[in-house]
């Protein structure tokens, strides 16, 4: 059985996006490796992007697609800064476990 394009409704995309977001959020909370946590954040961002384009298509509004570009730009910038910080942390303390970095404890 092949799925016709018409059978794939917007709900499929939205559910997929919700799943992706949940995976990202849970990953962010349970993993300790900073790099993995970083990837989870990317996952969440892209889940949001998926939602945006879905609605852009559904509502026939180009605004949703436009926002995706902005999100990508922000994500790229974030990656640049975030990776820079991670590299710096690796240099100082060989290995990066998020829980080790708690010197800002109140």
């Amino acid at each position: 059985m092949t799925l016709a394009a018409a059978d794939v409704t917007a709900n499929y995309y939205l559910v997929l996006a919700a799943l992706l977001f949940t995976v990202g959020a849970i990953g962010l909370l349970v993993r300790r490796n900073v790099l993995v946590m970083f990837m989870c954040v990317e996952l969440m961002l892209n889940a949001a992007n998926l939602t945006f384009v879905t609605f852009a298509r559904e509502l026939d509004d180009v605004g949703g697609q436009a926002i995706v570009f902005f999100t990508l730009v922000v994500a790229a910038a974030e990656v640049a800064v975030g990776l820079g910080i991670i590299v710096a942390i690796f240099r100082r303390r060989r290995g990066a476990t998020a829980d080790d970095l708690h010197i800002l404890k109140g």
Partner: protein, 662 residues
Amino acid sequence: MSSSDLLDLLWLVPALPLAGAVTLMLFGKRIREPIAGWVATALVGLSFVWTVVMFLALRDVEPRAHETIIWKLVPAGGFDVQLGFLADPLSITFALFVTGVATLIHLFSIGYMHGDERFSRFFAYLNLFVAAMLVLVLGNGFLITFLGWEGVGVCSYLLVSFWFERPAAAIAGKKAFVTTRVGDFGFMLAMFLIFEKLRTLDYAALDRAATLSTGTATAIALLLFLGAVGKSAQFPLHVWLPDAMEGPTPVSALIHAATMVTAGVFIVARAHPFFEHSGTAMTVVAWIGAGTALLAGTIALVQPDIKRVLAYSTISQLGYMFLALGVGAYAAAIFMVITHAFYKGTLFLGAGSVIHGSGDTQDLRTMGGLRKYLPLTAGGFIVAWLAIAGMPPFSGFWSKDEILASAFSAHDYGVWVVGVAAALLTGLYMTREVFLVFFGNERFRAERASEAREEDDITASPTVAFGDAPSPARLDHDPHESPRTMTTAILFLGALAVVAGVLNLPFRSLEFLTEWLEPVFEDVPEIHPNSFVGGFALSTLSVTMGLIGILVALSLYRQGLRRPDEDPGLARLGFAGRLFGHAYHFDESIARLVAGPVTRFSDWLDRTVDSRVIDGAVNGIGGLFGSLGGGLRRAQTGLVRNYALGVVLGAAGLLLFMLVRG
């Protein structure tokens, strides 16, 4: 130019001396002696000339009052503070004698302050003093008057402690400032009350004073009078004036004759509708005045310092003025302000000349026989002595007589008796001073040449308090007459002290001053002796009392003193003499009160209210937020994943909220 256009330029009167003060303060270092003195004198002189122009212009306008608004200082809703001046007979009269006498005192100071290292600074302060006094009398409302009122307070502080190298002078300046501030509080509270009731502070609203309840009028009048008591050194706020003798002598002359102490008389005369509306306030004014006249007169009897006698004499004479105000004889009080300005100015400048000429000593006990060496000074001084003692036909006779006659005719026999008694005291203490300084044996020569010294240690105060040993005689040469600038001022003021009586002779058509002031006091019933014979009898009585005083003092002091430490008057008075000498221990009592109960009460306040209640509240609030922060600190774990959990839970919460709200 019409007269009222001219009167719009009234602001020039205070502006001229103010300009002098500003110039001398900015460029004082470059303007050297004696130019600074001449600049200051010329500006005050110009101010006097301009006041005369204003006086002539005012005679042409009907009604006799002209108000000019210079600019709005503070437009605040329904309350405008306008910088404005009021020309009416009362303000112009004050401005005339203030600028006139001040010009002569400036002239005198050029000689007196010769060689002082802060010469131009001194004249800057003098000019500022005159400007402040002129703002005080020419202001168009209580607020502008208050500006000048505080201005003279500041200037008195600056000038009394002008020789601040002397600790005594610095303390005396502080004392003058703080004591008069007590009175200023009364003035301020009175202003609040007036604004609350009349919604304005302009003098134009004084007509409406009669619409107030008697209680309010009494409160306003008494609070204003408290201000007057402070400025005019009446009991119980008189303590600053004798100590103010630490200032240079021209300053004493300025304070006593022209500026400062007459401010109290002015404000009571200006605000007389409040006083007239309240019988209680009038009685208080009359009795405080009479009591002060008597008490200060007795204190003056035995003081050993040439300037302190004059200081207590001023307090006593001011008491007369308040006595006159209290019985409703306003014109008489202002007449006395003017004659007093002339004769007290002469006496102070004369005292300055004596001090200047006899080696900076102020001790009456080591003077004597000086008329030979300072003939011009002696002439002025003797004339002023006869005037203050109330001898006809000198000016003091006419003014004092009018006051006593008014008190008698107003049926205030109590204050009249006290006033007559004070007249006797005036004769006594002034004669003592004149004879100890200018007549009798010469006591100023040092016995050995080695004891002679002209220059004092500048930190030592020349003031001689009662009970001090006589300061050693220390001249090895004859005392010298003062330079011409000084003697000119003395003789000029002395001449005025002789003739000023013609301003207000007690004959129907010759009461020039009373007639001139009529528009200001038209709401006040006039007081006249019942008959000419009655008036004559009263005059004879007061002159006789003055003469008795003079003759008693003559019999005691004609020969001078046998030994400097033997005062025959003091010996006769015994215990009372010591009481008078210590000014009824008034200062000591205050000092003891402050050192004892007041300090203990303050300590108690410090321990309970301050450290428990106030500090407790402040520290409590600090502690509360400290512990709150300590608790919240635990939330900051430093672990990124905890924060992420917070963000996620927060987002989930928001989402849930939106779902529930629909």
